[in-house]
C-alpha cells in the first residue's frame, strides 16, 4: 500500500535547480532512506513534503488525496511530522512547552505532561516534561523532538540525520523505537550519511544526485561502498597512512582543568595526554561533553594554568592563540562560518586570520595583499576548493568546500601539532575522504594530529590512538586496534577504562 506518491517535483533557486523532476513512492509501514551528497537536494525535497518550501512544478498524493501543503501546519494536520537535523528546540523553555509549540491543539499543561509520560514509557524514551531543554543531553533533546512528533500520531515521520549526534547505545534504542513505529504502520523517511545504518534499518533507498533521482535500491543487497559510489557517481578511495611509527611527544597536556563559563557548558577535569610526532589521536564523545571547552583551551582562546599545556619545550598554558601559532600549534574549530572563517570576508582576507604571522603576510602592521592572495590561490589549488576566485566571500562556499579551505589554510602552514574539531561534519563523502587523507598525510610528515569528532566511523578509520571525552573527563588513550564499538559506547556513557 502506497502512503505518499511524489511525482515530478521540481524546485529551482536562482542559479541552481535543487530538485529536478523527482518522483518516488513511500509505502505504508516502510522505512525509506533518502541518500545523496550535500547539495544533492535532499533538504529541499523534504522541506517540500513538510510544507516549508513550495515546489515549482509537480504533485504529491497522500493516502489517495492530493497533497499540496502551503505551510508546516497544513502538513502536520495531514499527519506528516519531521525531526530536524539541527533540532528546532528552545533551550530556555521546558520539555512540555517545547512539545506544545510543535502541536496544533495542545492540551492543558498537566494533561500534556501526562501524555508525554505515557508516550515516553510506551516507546522507551525516558523524559521528564518539566526539565529545561537547555539542561538535556543531545540524545534527550532528540527524544523531545521524536515525542513531539509521536503525540500527533503521524502517518509519515521524516527524520533528517537523526543519529549523527548519538552514542551507539542511543542509536540502538532509537532503531528499536523506529522499528516499532514501522510495525504499527507508520512510514518513515530517513535521511542519513551513515550507510551502515541504512543497510540494517531501511527497506528501500532512493538516491539523489544533483537534484535528480539516480535510482532506487534495496540497502540490504548493497554494500556501504556501492551506495556511496552511487551517490557520488564515481569510485571512492579509502584514506591511507604511509608512516606508522611515532616520534617524541610534541604536545603534553598535564592536569588540564577549566571551568566553563557557559551556563550549559561542561567543565574540563584533570585532562592528561600526549600527542607524539606522526600520531593521529581521536577524541570521541557525545556532543556537549567538553569538546568545545577542550578546543578553546588548546587553541588558546581560553587560557589555563601555564604548565598544563606544553608544546615541545615551551609551557604555553598562558599564551594566546597568536603565540601558540608561532610555536606551531594550529587549530581548526568546529564552526566553519563565524569561527574558523569570517563569513563576509573573502578567501584572501580569510587567510590573514590565522596565517598573518606564520606566513608573513604583512610587515609593520601593513597587509601584504598579493601575498595573501597567493597563499589563498595555493590553498584553492592544493586542496581542490571549488570556488570562482580568491575574492569570493567565505559564506558563498558550500560547507564541504569551505571546510577544505580551512583545513588547507592550517595544514599548508606546516603545523607541528594540528587540532581539529569535527573535520567532516556536514561534509559530503568525497570531500570528507579528501580531508581525512590530508590529515593522514600531515601526520605522516611528522606532525601530531588531534581529531575531535562525533563520527565514530571516521575516528576508527583515521586514528592511531583513541580516547573518549565524557562529562569533561578524558579516558586513558589506547591504541585503536582492539577497540570495539561497544566498548566506545560504554566509555561515552561514562565508564572510565576500555
Amino acid at each position: 500500500m502506497t502512503l505518499i506518491e511524489i511525482r515530478g517535483l521540481t524546485k529551482g533557486y536562482p542559479g541552481v535547480v535543487a530538485n529536478d523532476d523527482v518522483s518516488f513512492d513511500i509505502d505504508k509501514g516502510e522505512i525509506h532512506a533518502l541518500l545523496g551528497e550535500n547539495g544533492a537536494g535532499k533538504s529541499t525535497l523534504v522541506k517540500m513534503i513538510y510544507g516549508l518550501v513550495r515546489p515549482d512544478i509537480g504533485t504529491m498524493t497522500l493516502d489517495g488525496e492530493s497533497f499540496a501543503p502551503t505551510e508546516p501546519r497544513a502538513s502536520r494536520v495531514k499527519g506528516v511530522a519531521m525531526v530536524f537535523q539541527h533540532f528546532s528546540l528552545f533551550e530556555a523553555l521546558s520539555v512540555a512547552e517545547n512539545i506544545a509549540l510543535g502541536m496544533e491543539n495542545p492540551p492543558k499543561t498537566n494533561a500534556l505532561s501526562n501524555q508525554i509520560r505515557d508516550v515516553s514509557l510506551k516507546y522507551g524514551l525516558e523524559l521528564d516534561p518539566n526539565r529545561l531543554v537547555g539542561d538535556l543531553s543531545v540524545g534527550e533533546r532528540q527524544r523531545v523532538e521524536i515525542i513531539r512528533c509521536l503525540l500527533q500520531d503521524p502517518k509519515l515521520l521524516i527524520m533528517d540525520e537523526p543519529t549523527s549526534v548519538l552514542t551507539p547505545q542511543e542509536v540502538d534504542a532509537l532503531f528499536t523505537t523506529l522499528r516499532r513505529l514501522r510495525d504499527e504502520g507508520t512510514s518513515i523517511l530517513y535521511i542519513s550519511h551513515k550507510l551502515e545504518e541504512i543497510k540494517i534499518l531501511c527497506n528501500r533507498a532512493t538516491i539523489l544526485r544533483h537534484g535528480k533521482v539516480i535510482g532506487i535500491c534495496i540497502p540490504k543487497n548493497e554494500t556501504a561502498k556501492s551506495m556511496a559510489e552511487m551517490m557520488v557517481g564515481s569510485k571512492l578511495k579509502t584514506p591511507q597512512k604511509t608512516v606508522t611509527n611515532f616520534g617524541l611527544p610534541l604536545l603534553i597536556i598535564k592536569n588540564l582543568s577549566l571551568k566553563s563559563t557557559d551556563p550549559f557548558g561542561t567543565s574540563l577535569k584533570n585532562i592528561t595526554f600526549n600527542i607524539r610526532a606522526g600520531e593521529v589521536m581521536g577524541v570521541a564523545g557525545v556532543a556537549g561533553n567538553g569538546q568545545d571547552e577542550l578546543m578553546l583551551a588548546l587553541s588558546g582562546e581560553v587560557l589555563t594554568e601555564v604548565n598544563s599545556i606544553q608544546l615541545e619545550n615551551n609551557f604555553i598554558g598562558q599564551s594566546g592563540p597568536v603565540e601558540r601559532r608561532l610555536h606551531g600549534l594550529l587549530t581548526a574549530p568546529e564552526e566553519r562560518l563565524g569561527h574558523a572563517a569570517a563569513p563576509d570576508m573573502n578567501l584572501s582576507e580569510n587567510t590573514l586570520l590565522s596565517g598573518f604571522q606564520r606566513q608573513k603576510l604583512g610587515r609593520r602592521g601593513f597587509i601584504n595583499k598579493s601575498g595573501a592572495a597567493a597563499f589563498a590561490e595555493k590553498i584553492i589549488e592544493k586542496f581542490d576548493v571549488r570556488t570562482t576566485s580568491v575574492s569570493s566571500a567565505a559564506k558563498s562556499l558550500s560547507g564541504g568546500n569551505l571546510q577544505k579551505f580551512v583545513m588547507g589554510r592550517e595544514i599548508l602552514q606546516n603545523p607541528k601539532v594540528f587540532i581539529v574539531n569535527q573535520p567532516t561534519w556536514g561534509v559530503d563523502a568525497a570531500a570528507a575522504a579528501f580531508i581525512r587523507q590530508s590529515l593522514l598525510e600531515l601526520a605522516s610528515g611528522g606532525a601530531g594530529v588531534l581529531v575531535i569528532s562525533q563520527d565514530l566511523d571516521e575516528l576508527m578509520e583515521i586514528s592511531d590512538t583513541f580516547t573518549v571525552i565524557s562529562e569533561g573527563r578524558l579516558s586513558e588513550p589506547s591504541p585503536i586496534k582492539g577497540v570495539t564499538t561497544e566498548k566506545i559506547g560504554l566509555l561515552m556513557g561514562g565508564s572510565k577504562k576500555i
Binding site: E71, S88, F90, A92, L93, L101, P263
Partner: protein, 307 residues
C-alpha cells in the same frame, strides 16, 4: 529636613508610572527577540500627540488613546525597517529616538504653556480617606492602576497563554520557530507595535498628568531608564514594578532633597537615577551565567527566512 514619607511614596508612584508603562511594552518587544532602542522617541511622540488630542477634545482618555496610536505608528516605522528591510536594530532604534525628538518639537510648536485637562482620580469607595494607605494607594488617576493591571496581564499572557509561549519561542530561537511554521516577522511586528503604544501612553502620562504641560524634550531620558529597567528586571514582568518604583523613588527623593535645600550641588542629585541605573546594570550583568539564562537568546539578531 521636612520630607513626608507618605507624600514621597504617593508621588513616587506617579513618577514611576511613565517608565513602568514604557518598560512593560519594551519587555514584550525584547521577549520577541527585538531590541528597540527607540523607546525615548516613541514616548515623546506619545507625549505630544496625546497632549494635542487631550487639549483639543478636552478628554484625557482620548489623549491616552491617541498617544498609544501615535506610539504604535512610529514603532511601525521601526518594524518595517528592521523586519522587512533587515536594517540593524541598534542603529534604527537610535534613529527612531532622534526622529521622535525632532518631530515632537515640530508638532508641539504653539502648545507650550497650555494646561491640559486634568485627569480625574479613581474612586475607591472613599478608601482615599484612610490614613497612610489612602494617599499612597487609593488617590491616583486611572493610568496608575492601568499600568499595574498591564503588568499583570503581560505576566499572565507570557506565563499561561499559548500566544505568550509562541512569543517567547520566537524570541528564544527564531529559526526553530520558523521551522515549526510560526510567522516570526508578523509576531515581531505585533510585539513592536504593542511596545510602541505602551511607550506612547507612558509619554502621554508625562505631559498630561505628571508635569502636566508640554515642553520640548520633556521625556528627558525616561525612555532610556525604561530600557534599563527591562534588563534590571531580567525580563520578568513583576520585577518591572520594583525597578520602576525604585528608579521613580530616586527621582522623587532627588527633587525633594533639592526643594528642602539639602546642601549638595543639584547636578549630583540629577545624576543619581542614571548612576543607579549604571550600578544596577553592572551588578545584574556581573553573573554571566544568570544573566544569559534570562535574556531572550535571539535578542537583537536579524531574522531572514532563507529556507
Amino acid at each position: 529636613m521636612d520630607i513626608s514619607i507618605v507624600s514621597l511614596l504617593a508621588t513616587l508612584i506617579v513618577a514611576a508610572t511613565p517608565i513602568l508603562l514604557a518598560a512593560t511594552g519594551e519587555l514584550i518587544v525584547e521577549k520577541s527577540g527585538v531590541l528597540n532602542l527607540g523607546v525615548e522617541g516613541m514616548m515623546i511622540i506619545g507625549a505630544i500627540c496625546g497632549f494635542i488630542a487631550a487639549v483639543n477634545t478636552d478628554s484625557p482618555l482620548i489623549g491616552f488613546i491617541v498617544a498609544a496610536l501615535a506610539g504604535a505608528a512610529l514603532s511601525l516605522l521601526f518594524a518595517v525597517l528592521t523586519q522587512y528591510l533587515l536594517a540593524n536594530q541598534v542603529a534604527s532604534g537610535l534613529a527612531l529616538t532622534l526622529f521622535g525628538l525632532g518631530l515632537s518639537a515640530l508638532l508641539g510648536h504653539g502648545y507650550s504653556g497650555i494646561k491640559p485637562p486634568s485627569s480625574p482620580k479613581m474612586e475607591w469607595f472613599g478608601m482615599a480617606e484612610l490614613p497612610v494607605v489612602g494617599p499612597i494607594f487609593f488617590n491616583h488617576d486611572m493610568m496608575v492602576y492601568f499600568s499595574i493591571f498591564l503588568v499583570l496581564v503581560v505576566w499572565l499572557f507570557l506565563k499561561f497563554t499559548r500566544g505568550g509561549l509562541i512569543l517567547r519561542a520566537v524570541g528564544e530561537n527564531h529559526e526553530a520557530a520558523h521551522a515549526l511554521g510560526y510567522k516570526v516577522i508578523r509576531i515581531r511586528i505585533l510585539a513592536i507595535m504593542f511596545g510602541g503604544s505602551c511607550a506612547g501612553m507612558g509619554g502621554a502620562y508625562l505631559s498630561l498628568v505628571r508635569v502636566p504641560q508640554w515642553t520640548e524634550g520633556m521625556t528627558a531620558g525616561a525612555g532610556w531608564i525604561a530600557l534599563a529597567i527591562v534588563v534590571f528586571a531580567s525580563w520578568k514582568p513583576w520585577r518591572l514594578i520594583l525597578g520602576a518604583y525604585l528608579f521613580g523613588g530616586v527621582t522623587i527623593l532627588q527633587l525633594n532633597l533639592q526643594a528642602n535645600g539639602f546642601d549638595m550641588p543639584v547636578s549630583y542629585l540629577s545624576m543619581a537615577p542614571y548612576l543607579v541605573t549604571i550600578v544596577v546594570l553592572v551588578i545584574m550583568s556581573a553573573d554571566r551565567r544568570r544573566a544569559s539564562l534570562n535574556a531572550p537568546a535571539s535578542l537583537g539578531k536579524i531574522f531572514h527566512a532563507s529556507s
